[in-house]
Subunit: 337 residues, 4 copies
């Protein structure tokens, strides 16, 4: 339910409507500019007396949002959301490039790598400290030490960093050290983690689950937004299909669909989507051409020696070539890099 207040409505009137709704059992979200209305009511609508709300002074209009997700829907906010991560604006005219190794490995590697990536045009550096691994016997990341290395690199180089939070226990730590908090595909329906992300003060990069529908993806984002954190960035990273020549199947159509259904920024991760370094350049170009707001890509100085996901990482030379080719595509779609 979206409530639009009169332009002339007073703060007091707004407060009274808010209180009434809370008393009736609803949650109230004050909507950003560019939205259809003034406030969005979520939660259980059963107890809400629509007529009584409509009669309150200052209330101009009451609308329904038809989609099951509300706060993230384009229906509710027509204008694109731009999420700020440090000085980087994600979702605006300039594309966002996130690059780095799958896992943080060493101080030197992270610093040198980060410097090089920044020089080559990356906007954020990524690096996993807590790694969700299919096998309990695989390398699980450096944990807190990894976050420290990443944060030091940020200070040294002057570039925001992103890392994954894999559970509510380590969330505080990740939130403390990084600028953008990633929630991975395996956790897209880990609702406790999503709720914790909803209380975070930092923006969230939410990756699509490998078999999530668009509806489920946007409802996962809604979990975060309904908690009060509206700074959510969506990331398509491939879905599971019968295809056997790539690790997953990049669902390129999800980009225009997400853009149509939601006002949130959309990034694409061609590294995990394909699992093949020779696919990174064509898939990245396709993603930008289809309307993505940027890409997130795995880069490693010696891909074949990487502790995880080496086969899908590209070298710095390869990354430089990627940036060159993306720059031309960006211009062709009226954007920059």
């Amino acid at each position: 339910m979206v409530i639009t207040m009169d332009d002339s409505a007073t703060k007091k009137e707004i407060m009274r409507v808010t209180e009434l709704i809370k008393k009736m059992g609803g949650d109230v979200h004050n909507l950003p500019k560019g939205s259809t209305g003034t406030m969005e009511v979520t939660g259980d609508h059963a107890g809400l007396d629509r007529e009584q709300i409509a009669k309150m002074p200052g209330v101009k209009n009451i609308d329904n949002v038809k989609k099951p997700y509300k706060l993230g829907s384009r229906e509710m906010k027509a204008r694109n959301t731009v999420v700020k991560v440090g000085k980087v604006a994600i979702g605006g005219k300039k594309l966002t490039i996130i690059a780095g190794s799958c896992a943080v490995e060493t101080v030197e590697g992270t610093n040198e790598g980060g410097r090089l990536l920044k020089m080559l045009g990356a906007d954020l550096v990524r690096g996993g400290a807590f790694k969700p691994r299919t096998s309990p016997y695989s390398f699980q990341g450096l944990g807190k030490r990894g976050l420290e290395i990443l944060a030091d690199a940020r200070e040294l180089i002057g570039i925001p960093v992103v890392s994954e939070a894999v559970d509510t226990e380590s969330f505080d730590l990740v939130e403390e050290y990084v600028d953008l908090i990633q929630i991975g595909a395996r956790n897209m329906q880990n609702y406790s983690l999503l709720k914790r992300a909803g209380r975070a003060k930092k923006p969230i990069l939410l990756k699509r689950g490998i078999s999530a529908t668009i509806n489920e993806f946007l409802l996962a984002a809604e979990y975060i937004m309904s908690g009060g954190n509206y700074n959510v960035i969506l990331c398509e990273r491939g879905i599971r299909t019968f295809n056997d020549y790539t690790r997953f199947t990049l669902d390129i159509s999800s980009i225009p669909e997400l853009k149509q259904q939601s006002h949130l920024p959309v990034l694409v991760d061609p590294s995990h989507a394909s699992g093949r370094r020779d696919m990174i350049i064509p898939l990245s170009k396709a993603a930008i051409a289809a309307g993505a707001d940027g890409i997130m890509v795995e880069v490693h100085p010696f891909p074949d020696k990487a502790l995880s996901d080496g086969y899908q990482s590209i070298t710095f030379e390869h990354f430089a070539q990627l940036m060159k080719e993306l720059s031309t595509i960006a211009k062709a779609v009226g954007r920059s890099i």
Copy 2:
């Protein structure tokens, strides 16, 4: 790595080998009877000096487990594992029937329902207290109150109960109240939750993720077992495919495959697999015919009034008919119900 000690090996010799391996960085699991060897070494094998271990007094043999999952593999333990939940043995000759409503709703409903289900032959009663829901605005379960209702019903009726733990925060509570702890499909790769389950004193019912391969499913079980909790029950509940006439697609072949690759018990959930009550009887019969150790099914006195998943719940009459038909199939495959 599976180490077999001489039959004549002393406790002290076993302890010395254990200590040596721990010093080298490995984790040691004492294997149950019916296993290939005496102890299983998991964790990082890089630091293990195989030759030095082989020279220790009492060591008879060192084998490798080729599968990526070790403790759960049939390779390591040929004999079927039977998991005890109260007096109920899951994985033995007698099939296990778990029944109940999707969510715990009322005291009366739970008590009456439980009594009826027990009378009709159910071995465990299920009921969700913490519900993982796709939308943040859907009914999320009664929480602790739901667990209390469930535990009271157990005392009253004398039947073990199962409920889902959706996060590490509420795990303690669930472990305190119920006899069998479920980890749902959405959390199959929530590794923190799996690790917590590995420290639990109660058995775990692990549901397959909707797009998990058999390998990923058994590695999820391995997360629990490598933490020291060997009482894991696997549950097939349908995978996501292009099919549009059922909610998911019951992967019937997974039953013989899981039975071949692992010694753990395997249950089937036809309610979630199909999302259609008219499919429950044929799918349950197929599951038992294919070798499953039992089924878990949603039953509700008034399916159309259920707070969640009503369309896939069956009535008590329907459940009685199911039991009757399963009984005949059970006999045909040399089992009982």
Copy 3:
């Protein structure tokens, strides 16, 4: 559109209604006993004047069939269809077992194999003469010679035979030599072949395409039936999913669904569904438990020497065991073998 004539309607009245409908542009099918009405009108309904038809003498009632498939729908005919292939009745109380090698290879093999299979309880012998192969460089079958070998075996042994027709060119030949004509999964939407099958005088075994929905499958059957050949047997043979441990995924739920939506007999092919001989017995048992009318299975004296599909073929000993286990399951579901 289903038209029901009065019980007292004369032949002449029926003929007049038929002629009127044909003049209006519809196709008329006389319905078998057990159907809702007396005749079914298919084709383009745009030109049909319903009111005028209703006024014709002898017309009692006009109904619509809501499903897109008409002649095959349960809606139109409530009673199960039993298809006769020689003396074998498919779809009745007795289950049908079709067995044989993937491809006809030699006279001796076919004769000896056929004799053995009959002795062990097979109702029909299968053998491919024209083989649809993924690669143009693979063995494509013996062609006409294969059909001759098969037909000779039938005479010698006294058992009906089934073989695949891969195109309209060879259809006449296949129809001449065999008792049941198979249309394979790859050709499920080869509409010219389906139309030719609709004009055939022999029954058709139609296999589900590897990514066909149930709706598409029943519409493919409708192509055959709308051509006048009502003797269609459906066969589930696995769908393509992300699963990697079987060649395809047996869609066990399709059995109750097909049985509910259609009156046609339903067989299951566990050999192609799994591509693994160790899956044949559990999947066959599951299929019968779920309500299938029989199975079609690949048997070869020396599976590892088979010219095609050896890895999924079972030996005669294995087949004998399968028959024994199926016999018990058959009894448990009120059927025989």
Copy 4:
């Protein structure tokens, strides 16, 4: 097996090698310039005596092609194949745009539409005369009359035309009337049709089956090429996945994969891939950015009145906008339109 003859080998020497191989049971294909060798031997290799061939005068080298597809593989021919359709070159620097209505409907519509499409930049006009339809009761196309209308439009407008051949019976007719013969997704493994296409004198546009792997797709092309028709154009048109917001899922990664594995041109059909007109522009741009040689798109003056596939057709205005946007992307990837 690829045989390379000495540069100085005489015609007679080449002929003698050819004859020897044919005598041994192989099929010989003379390779175009840009290929690894001089001739390719396909068919059954069992009878080939490699040593004897190597000793023949003029033979320089014998290589194996490791891929199961030979003639279509990049391994065998490194240089891109450019297929000529009339004056249009498909697979070169200039992108190819095929546009038109799903089905040929009227003379006026086809002529006016074709003229407009040509003016707006289309290279070929498409139109279905024989339509493969899921239901036997749907409009099946105008047949021969449709081909005549299409051929007349070609003469009038001066633009090559493409139409689908759905079976071997109507293939001659389609070959007679059109410039490029389409084989649809449902017929990708209709081997008789592929073999007939292999004997055609006109180029073939082969669409990928909705659940075909890349390997199966290239083996289908190999059926055509091994018959002697090397002018094959591949077309990605979406695969079947669990996604529910588009009709199929455009497999964008297939473009770089096909380009890497094969030397054949690759087009993309965003209309069938998505089934949604609002997806045509972003998906077309993505396809070109990923390396496709062109697109095939459904255009209809009044999409909502189209006899088939109206919901996925775009208007001429929409097509003009598409051409404008593609032109910019084409330049960005070093190509023209």
